[in-house]
């Protein structure tokens, strides 16, 4: 793999979202604040997810992680589909970059965007609720792995989609429901047994739960189980993305 080439593509992908940061960073931060203000205000005195943790405090890590995941997905998927549709992907296709270089650059930039937006959400929302950092290594591990997994999934979706509406369908019918049903807004222990079981099939649940563990030191399931599920999901999706890139799926006729 050409490190210099991969580095250039990575920097280009970071620069691409940074040049429109108002849309790619500020807008998702504002959305997260809206969620916090509305849900926090309505449910603060009605829901207690973990003992001794107020609802707004409980909500903040969930919103941060949701922002990390959604923006990591958006970065790789939207960049690829835009380049495919406008035709400028040809500049990359005629380059000597390997499928590994593509993967590292696109997923790396997705992780950066996810972490920048997540950091922005945390900086703003932390004023609304007290947060602890009980086990911070889990915060770093789940934020990075979750963003990597969603960046890889964005790569797969961006390669598969041929039109913007196909990508929107992927985002609206797969990513959004899986994030909303992952326990961002509630603890899965508050759900009926059937829905609890269903939540355990959703890898996003483990990302949120493990990430939240880093703040409060408590979680719905063991953080090691979450790490195994999230790590396994990342390896699986990354493997699919790499194979699609290697075969030139929908890139080379």
């Amino acid at each position: 793999m050409s490190l210099a080439g991969a580095g250039t593509l990575f920097r280009k992908e970071v620069l691409r979202f940074w040049k429109v940061a108002f849309q790619t960073v500020a807008a998702p931060v504002l959305t997260a604040i809206m969620y916090l203000l509305i849900f926090g205000h309505v449910l603060q005195d009605h829901v207690q997810a973990f003992p001794g943790v107020g609802y707004t405090s409980f909500l903040v890590p969930g919103l941060v992680m949701m922002s990390v995941l959604q923006n990591a997905f958006a970065n790789s998927s939207s960049s690829l589909i835009q380049s495919k549709i406008t035709g400028n992907l040809v500049f990359l296709l005629v380059s000597p970059l390997s499928h590994w270089a593509w993967f590292v650059a696109y997923v790396g930039a997705s992780i950066v965007r996810g972490l920048v937006v997540g950091g922005g959400v945390m900086l703003v929302t932390v004023w609304f609720a007290p947060l602890r950092l009980a086990e911070p290594w889990w915060i770093i591990a789940f934020a990075a792995l979750g963003a990597g997994m969603l960046g890889s999934l964005g790569l797969v979706a961006g390669l598969w989609a041929e039109k913007f509406d196909q990508l929107a369908a992927f985002q609206n019918f797969i990513i959004m429901p899986m994030t909303f049903l992952s326990g961002v807004f509630y603890s899965v222990h508050s759900l009926p047994a059937v829905w609890q079981a269903a939540s355990h099939l959703n890898p996003f649940f483990y990302m949120i739960d493990g990430f939240r563990r880093g703040f409060f030191g408590v979680s719905d399931v063991s953080p090691w189980l979450s790490l195994a599920v999230v790590g396994g999901s990342f390896v699986l999706v990354a493997g699919i993305a790499l194979q699609l890139l290697r075969s030139g799926y929908k890139l080379r006729s």
Binding site: R11, K12, V90, F91, V94, S95, R252, S253
Partner: protein, 304 residues
Amino acid sequence: MSTHAIHFDNISKVYPGARGAFKALDQVSFQIAPGEFFGLLGPNGAGKTTLISVLAGLSRATSGRATVMGHDVIADYAAARKSLGIVPQELVFDPFFSVRETLRIQSGYFGVKGNDAWIDEILAELGLTDKANANMRQLSGGMKRRVLVAQALVHRPPVNVLDEPTAGVDVELRQTLWRFIARLNREGHTVLLTTHYLEEAEALCGRIAMLKQGRVVALDKTSQLLAGKASTMLRFKTDDPLPPAVGATARVTGRIVQAKARDAADVETMLAALRAAGVKVEDLEIGRADLEDVFLEIMQQVAA
């Protein structure tokens, strides 16, 4: 290891379809030597862009093998692509970046660092210096085309492929472009050009291949193609119907008639036939056949 700059060895490309397979390329074989200025001509849909796509790795041949500077475009794709600079036919650009950023990024993809001196030289040669910091979206079509050329050259590839680079561009850009490309060719770069402007191909290309329906139908030195096929051409303008002695071999474009004659005697016979038929002739010229005449003759022969 092949010593050719470009080598197409029995390349076929078949696209499967609901109504049956479509053969875009049919056992295409030819080589281009280092330093050649080579023309690839053919009507729309002949397979020129598909052949270039195979070379660039944008498309994979169904069978056969292609190399660039001896590097297989599949097995040794990184080395092949480093040796190749492609100017694509479509006017594509990345709207997020300025001209200079675009060129730096393209250099970086090829692992070329600290390339600003060469980037400045290309910008100057292509008349883009004052647009270096302009966003790509702000450029006119002609300027975007210049940037495409600059992107193809930014990593100093020894082999340059220009796929209809002058389609729809003004005279100034054509002259600027050909001056620069001719300089690169003099310095040893190999150039493969596809164009519909046959006067450009005749003026620039030492050798020419003609494609039709995915097959090579002519391949020779430009001078040999002109000498071998050609003949004398009788050119004039008229509004009158042509007598059969002239009409049988003539190509009529509006009022302009171009009739092929085998020799001087044939010219005399044609002129006599025109006089006898009372055809009023304007701007009569007798000259050598050009590449367009040769091209049309070859394409008609293949169709027959």
